[in-house]
């Protein structure tokens, strides 16, 4: 059966060139970077070079990059770490209602520890309005965390404008750039952020590696203590193979970014137009907003997303109903709820996230089978909810 993977926002395969780098550092140059001998020195060089590649993609000095296990740990480190470092300055944080659980759940934890968090709403297009952030700031605010692009609907937030309003008040700004890093430009000075989170497995590097940028001089208490790796900012033996792989993935992302973004955007538009043409009662979330080129969130009235997902899966097409990690939960997506998506669409959303391997034939295959799948699901559906 044909296999069509359209869930690149959940995770990506490791590219062959990236896998080769990984292999080398698992098998041959497998040393511990803290070791003094040649195995260790080669591993150290690999980590340093990867740091340079990440830094280049962020337009940041290499020393400002810290590697860790992924986006979730990075978000936790920054939110918990700034909160702890600045607790005597204030105990108020501002974030948005559409953040990833790695931010929202960490905020919920901080709320149990005596911090106050304001969750700024979004407009109907899934955009955080800068003025809404500005209004939420208080004398007590120590950190604002607004994601760069949303993982479920792909909307890109006006970070530069938010940064201006936040930083003129002397408040630190963090962005979760897990979904943009490697897909669209993420230069920290253009975004105007003090902290930025990235993760490897969304840009064709392996899972289990990611990290953060911290503007030099910003306060941050570590989350993990130990062997003083990463200059004491994140202890634990460096995941050398994955870090080196991430470095390679960053090089490839930088090389191909413009071309891939344009190519995937065209395919995504073909998908959106095709679905609209062939299926009635379709809604594209955040359609009017700037969005990631690879992402579209399409809802089908009167059906349930997971039923569509499973039917697509039976025909070899992998998509998501929203974020991978909220799948299986009872509640509809917190992102769609925050956007005020109408009730009849709320449970019927599918996220299509394209990637490097996506072809026009794949999009056409989806356009060929999805109308029948939606029709069947709608036929199963009670005529009208009383």
């Amino acid at each position: 059966m044909r296999q069509v993977y359209l869930d690149h926002n959940a995770t990506t395969p490791v590219l062959p060139e990236v896998l080769e780098v990984m292999l080398r550092y698992c098998r041959d140059d497998f040393g511990n970077p803290s070791s003094v001998h040649r195995y260790g020195r080669r591993a150290r060089v690999a980590v340093d070079e990867a740091r340079d590649a990440v830094a280049a993609l962020l337009g940041a000095p290499a020393a400002s990059i810290v590697f860790c296990s992924g986006g979730t740990e990075a978000n936790n480190t920054i939110l918990q770490g700034v909160a702890a470092a600045l607790k005597d300055k204030g105990r108020h944080l501002v974030t948005s209602q559409i953040e990833h659980p790695a931010v929202l759940d960490t905020c919920a934890y901080l709320e149990t520890q005596g911090y106050r968090v304001t969750y700024v709403p979004v407009n109907a297009d899934g955009i955080v309005e800068p003025e809404a952030v500005a209004e939420a700031l208080t004398e007590e605010t120590i950190l604002v965390s607004i994601m760069h692009a949303n993982n479920e609907v792909g909307t890109i937030q006006p970070l530069a404008e938010i940064a201006r309003l936040v930083r003129e008040r002397g408040i630190l700004l963090h962005t979760d750039a897990v979904q943009t890093f490697g897909k669209i430009p993420t230069r920290v000075d253009e975004l105007g952020v003090d902290f930025l989170t990235f993760s490897g497995h969304k840009l064709y590097a392996p899972k289990g590696v990611g990290g953060w940028y911290a503007r030099p001089g910003t306060p941050l208490r570590p989350l993990i203590y130990g062997g003083h790796q990463e200059r004491g900012r994140r202890s634990g033996t460096e995941n050398v193979a994955a870090i080196a792989a991430l470095g390679k993935a960053c090089e490839l992302a930088a090389r191909d970014m413009a071309r891939e973004a344009a190519r995937q955007l065209q395919l995504r538009q073909a998908l959106e137009h095709g679905l609209r043409e062939r299926i009635p009662a379709v809604r594209i979330q955040g359609e009017a907003a700037p969005r990631l080129p690879n992402t579209t969130n399409v809802a089908f009235a009167g059906v349930e997303g997971e039923t569509l997902l499973m039917s697509l899966d039976l025909q070899g097409v992998a998509v998501s109903t929203g974020s991978a990690c909220s799948s299986g939960s009872l509640e509809p997506s917190h992102v769609l709820k925050a956007m005020g998506v109408p009730a009849e669409f709320l449970h019927g959303a599918l996220r299509f996230s394209l990637g490097r391997s996506t072809t026009r034939e794949e999009i056409e295959y989806v356009l060929a089978i999805l109308p029948g799948i939606v029709e069947r699901a709608r036929a199963l559906s009670p005529a009208a909810t009383p």
């Binding site: 039923t307 009872l330 509640e331 199963l380 559906s381 909810t385």
Partner: protein
């Protein structure tokens, strides 16, 4: 974290007794406001025995499978017996539902009870 048993998969791919019964002897529409699932259950009853059951459901694969297996369980049962069907039996008939999907079997149990509690045998005409 959702995974479906082979039975759920099978009922989802080939649901039994999909459709409506015109002028049914009993029916109910139940919804779970949290997940938005809705089941419409139709029954034809002769004497105190269920002779036909059909459904229409909007919901996830587990909800559809639960509806399907519920109609199979209902057909041929006495009303008393049907009222005794529990969510656990529905779940068991599907080979077990994951914790996140147990609520789908609740929907079935609710639909049975709602349809049958309201049921009054028709007066024989004439």
């Amino acid at each position: 974290m959702t995974r479906y048993s082979d039975l759920v998969q099978e009922h989802f791919e080939r649901p039994r007794n999909v459709g409506e019964i015109p002028n049914p002897d009993a029916e109910a529409v139940v919804s779970n406001p949290a997940c938005g699932d809705t089941m419409h259950l139709y029954l034809r009853i002769e004497g105190d025995r269920i002779v036909e059951a059909k459904f229409k459901t909007m919901g996830c694969p587990a909800a559809i499978a639960a509806s399907s297996v519920t109609t199979e369980m209902l057909i041929g049962r006495r009303i008393e017996e049907a009222l005794a069907i529990t969510r656990a039996e529905v779940s068991a008939a599907l080979g077990g539902l994951s914790p996140q999907k147990v609520h789908c079997s609740v929907l079935s149990e609710d639909a049975i009870k709602a349809a049958l509690r309201r049921y009054r045998p028709r007066q024989t005409e004439g």
